[in-house]
């Protein structure tokens, strides 16, 4: 054959699964592909729609991929030693080609990931997609959120500048307030009593290997559970309406994590309860949208990276606390609470560190984790945005989320030296200089 034919054939061999030309190819593209086989062969139109899930989970995953790649590249230049870390950051910014872009993208993707993961959790809550069999996946999601926060926190220390050092001082001192285990926890985290080389190394290893590994494994399980639970909850209303026409359950087997089990599972039942007209092929629908979401997310991080440089303050100085010293923004609501919840009853003082730093977030976390088991709404409201029956709980969730965001905004823009209240346009007292 001609060269042109040969090239066309080779190209086709590589890309057929992303652009199938027959229905059989469309099915095979998913089922036989290592990267794509976690998608179902077909998805309901509503599951794949923009407006149901806003594709937030995919956005979070895309951000994680960006973080993995930029992080891996940064590892070639960053040195986790207290003498060298700060200067290696300066070198990345000034002396490495596209170093500024790598570092900025890593930082903005990290901030975005914390935010997007939370909004994704809100979406799942609002659509009641945590109920029934999906309760386990909800818990896995909460652990993923915590891992994301920990990843961001461990990464925050690595530049070893004033911002990093004191933010971690504040954060680990809040951790110390945990009853019984607090002091030991802080000692093990820091590798000692003070933040030093041991701390930097521990945080570095946690940040580049342990936590990403945990995240990846949990993410894989998170996807597994989505399949096992019968796909997104968006399909539940459809299934319920279709199931009114009785059909005999087909004999089937299913592959679970530990082997083959006989019988019909949610997953197999799910696929038999919808009609041909309700679904579309995952390849090309899902794959195309996946690409779009990734491209959108990448563009956003790239835009932010070009417009705004990630901060790097003075080199860490344990002898001088900057005024004010603020935790990373996703913990600022805790710091604001900690600063204002010290209770003084005569001679007894209950530390704000405990109330604001451990008790309140602890209660919120427990509530969130327990909610699938406390929720009393009807099954028919699954997969629906803001159904009337769940109005109250959705409002409460929103109120808590808004309160958290409000606290973050206050402590970010309205708090100045000595944690005093300053309007954003009000000038802070000028910081004295040497000359």
């Amino acid at each position: 054959m001609s060269l042109r034919e040969y090239l066309r054939q080779r190209w086709r061999a590589m890309t057929w699964s992303w652009a199938p030309e027959t229905e059989l190819e469309a099915s095979d593209a998913i089922v036989r592909n290592l990267w794509l086989h976690w998608f179902p062969n077909k998805v309901t139109l509503r599951s794949a729609s923009w407006s149901y899930s806003l594709w937030l989970g995919t956005a979070a995953a895309s951000l994680f991929v960006i973080l993995l790649v930029t992080g891996m590249l940064l590892m070639f230049f960053y040195v986790p030693s207290v003498q060298t870390a700060y200067w290696s950051m300066k070198d990345i910014r000034f002396a490495v080609h596209f170093g500024f872009l790598l570092r900025n993208q890593h930082r903005w993707a990290a901030h975005l990931m914390v935010g997007v993961t939370f909004v994704h959790m809100a979406r799942v809550f609002y659509t009641g997609a945590y109920r029934g069999a999906r309760a386990l996946n909800w818990l896995v999601g909460i652990v993923l959120l915590l891992t994301t926060l920990l990843l961001s926190f461990t990464g925050y220390l690595l530049p070893w500048d004033q911002l990093a050092y004191w933010a971690v001082t504040v954060g680990t001192n809040i951790a110390r307030e945990a009853p019984l285990v607090g002091t030991t926890l802080r000692f093990l985290l820091l590798g000692g009593n003070e933040i030093g080389q041991a701390t930097l190394l521990r945080f570095y290893v946690l940040h580049v290997f342990v936590l990403p590994a945990i995240l990846l494994i949990l993410f894989a399980y998170h996807m597994w559970r989505v399949r096992k639970d019968g796909g997104l909850a968006a399909a539940e209303p459809l299934r319920r309406s279709r199931r009114l026409t009785p059909t005999a359950p087909s004999p089937s087997k299913t592959y679970s994590i530990f082997g083959v089990r006989p019988g019909a599972t949610l997953q197999t039942l799910a696929t038999t309860h919808v009609e041909e007209t309700d679904v579309a092929f995952s390849s090309p629908e899902l794959t195309r949208r996946l690409t779009l979401v990734f491209l959108l997310v990448f563009n956003v991080t790239l835009l932010l990276s070009i417009m705004f440089d990630a901060p790097l303050e003075e080199a860490a100085n344990p002898n001088l606390t900057p005024n004010p010293a603020k935790a990373p923004w996703y913990f600022l609501w805790l710091q604001e609470l900690v600063a204002s919840t010290t209770i003084r009853l005569g001679h007894v003082t209950i530390s704000g560190g405990f109330i604001g730093g451990i008790l309140i977030p602890g209660i919120l976390l427990l509530l969130a984790a327990a909610w699938p088991f406390l929720d009393r709404s009807a099954n028919s409201t699954e997969g629906v945005w803001w159904p009337r029956e769940r109005l109250l709980q959705n409002l409460v969730f929103t109120a808590v989320a808004v309160a958290i965001v409000a606290l973050i905004i206050v402590s970010l823009y309205f708090r100045g030296p000595s944690w005093g209240f300053y309007w954003p346009w009000q000038a802070w007292p000028p910081s004295p200089a040497t000359l």
Partner: protein
């Protein structure tokens, strides 16, 4: 071999595998508890008592204040009990102020305003055999603890 013996051997076999695994896990976990600390010592020498002026002197290297009244010495920690920032001595108000969240402590370390839950720690101070002030930050003392420097050695 009869069933009973086989059962016992089975338990012993699986048990030793489990034990080996658990011991490995415990060893790995124990490795993470540091035995040596690359940190400044908890007990260290400052300068000789005679080298300190009257009043409050900030020691930046050790994050503490040396307070001298005539020949009475005591040492107050400069680490705010709220979230660990370094407090500053304000001579005009005679208070220790923390720049992070506005905690304020009296001259004896008592917390009077702001979110700090506990007073500033006072550390034990004594004389080393060669006549230096020696502080032990692992040992806290009462607020009214005073170390009297022996005269004639200043």
């Amino acid at each position: 071999m009869d069933e009973g013996r086989r059962g016992v051997l089975r338990i012993l076999g699986k048990g030793s595998v489990a034990a080996a695994f658990l011991m490995q896990l415990a060893a790995a976990a124990r490795a993470f508890v540091p035995n040596v600390l690359y940190e400044p010592l908890r007990r260290f020498k400052l300068r000789k008592p005679g080298d300190y002026p009257q009043g409050v002197t900030f020691d930046a290297d050790h994050r503490l204040f040396v307070v001298r009244q005539d020949d009475d010495f005591h040492v107050i920690s400069a680490v705010c009990t709220h979230l660990g920032c370094t407090v500053q001595w304000k001579l005009d108000r005679k208070t220790f102020d923390c720049p992070c969240h506005g905690s304020r402590f009296q001259a004896d370390g008592t917390n009077v305003s702001g979110p700090a839950p506990r007073p500033l720690s006072c550390f034990a101070v004594a004389a080393s055999p060669d006549g230096y002030l020696e502080v032990n930050t692992a040992e806290e003392v009462a607020r009214d603890f005073r170390f009297v420097a022996t005269k004639g050695r200043a």
